[in-house]
């Protein structure tokens, strides 16, 4: 019976861990997308200085969490997001006004959101 309870306990711990992980990732991703949204808003207003600052802030936050993301997610996805952060920073620096910055920002935000969405407990993800 001891073996049964240990196994059940391990399963519960793993399940609880996966839920905690999901909410933690969701929290981080929300913070990142919020910062990127404000970068987008600043860019629309023509305040490129604050926009670039927001992008740098989001990238720093991303880099701080990167080791954890590497343990959880497919490394390709994580590296891709970092590359996109760099190109977004460049676009902000060059003050791209032709909508390129807004498009790159939106693409990056949706990629960040996908990270936690693929771990969400729903039928779509299960099947």
């Amino acid at each position: 019976m001891k073996r049964l309870w240990i196994s059940v306990a391990l399963l519960v711990v793993m399940l609880a861990g996966s839920f905690l992980n999901y909410y933690y990732i969701k929290h981080i991703c929300r913070e990142l997308t919020d910062t990127l949204s404000s970068a987008q808003a600043y860019a629309q207003e023509g305040d490129w200085e604050h926009s670039e600052q927001s992008v740098t802030q989001a990238r720093s936050a991303w880099e701080a969490h990167e080791p954890y993301f590497h343990v959880i997610f497919v490394h390709r996805d994580i590296d891709q997001i970092l590359v996109e952060f760099h190109s977004l920073g460049e676009l902000a620096n060059k003050q791209e006004t032709g909508g390129e910055f807004a498009a790159a920002c939106a693409a990056l935000m949706s990629e960040i959101n996908l990270l936690y969405e693929m771990d969400a407990l729903n039928l779509e993800n299960i099947f």
Binding site: S7, L10, I72, F73
Partner: protein, 226 residues
């Protein structure tokens, strides 16, 4: 490359843990639940082992989940006959009182050729020798022959042969197992005597030496050109 080595070691240890959990059964003797577990576990480990882009956790978490499930199911199987029947099935009697049960054969998708082959493997070339043949849940066939086909036990012949004893290894490939020697109440002086009587000077020259409860010694000397 270092990453590959470390990842392989970690995953290998996890698979060993899983296989140990299956117990001492051989692959061909696995129950359906254990067979499924053995099939999946190797594949789960192989993917993150080969692809460094996939986090190790993507292999470890499913393996851990499977280990826990296998453990839970094996304990519940012991406790509940109903669950055992549901997950592992029940044995099927393919031959009863010498008659082939054709419906049972069809149910188990077993052909006559397969049945006869299994019977031959068990030492029964003629189906007329078999009273019962039972297809066990692990895929093995149990054969109960008619009484007239069974070997005669010694007691029926009014014989009383000595019971066999379990021989224990005392020298394994040149190494003396002192613990076994002590357990049997023997010492190095006794061992030297046995070696001398086998024409050997040192234990290093012995490939295998065993001793049973009646102190009967078996000695196999190492071949020089191996």
């Amino acid at each position: 490359m270092t990453i590959a080595i470390i990842r392989t070691i970690v995953l290998y240890l996890f698979i060993i843990l899983g296989i140990r959990l299956l117990g001492k059964r051989q692959i061909g003797e696995l129950e359906p639940t254990e067979f499924v577990f053995a099939l999946i576990i190797a594949d789960l480990a192989a993917v993150p082992m080969q692809d460094y882009g996939i986090p190790l956790l993507a292999g470890i978490v499913p393996i851990m989940t499977l280990l826990c499930l296998a453990s839970v199911i094996s304990v519940l199987n012991l406790k509940s006959v109903r669950l055992r029947n549901l997950l592992d099935g029940t044995p099927s009697i393919l031959v009863e009182n010498g008659k082939i049960r054709q419906r049972e054969m069809t149910k188990n998708r077993c052909t006559v050729d397969e049945l006869l082959e299994e019977l031959r493997l068990k030492g029964y070339p003629d189906i007329g020798m078999v009273k019962y043949a039972i297809w066990e849940t692990n895929g093995q066939l149990t054969v109960l022959p008619y009484a007239k086909e069974q070997p005669v036990p010694a007691k029926d012949l009014q014989l009383s042969p000595a019971d066999p004893t379990l021989p224990r290894i005392i020298i394994n490939d040149g190494q003396v197992l002192h613990q076994t020697l002590q357990k049997r109440g023997l010492d190095d002086v006794w061992l030297q005597k046995q070696l001398a009587s086998s024409g050997v000077k040192s234990p290093k020259e012995v490939f295998l030496m065993t001793v049973d409860d009646n102190n009967q010694v078996y000695c196999s000397v190492k071949e020089t050109n191996v």
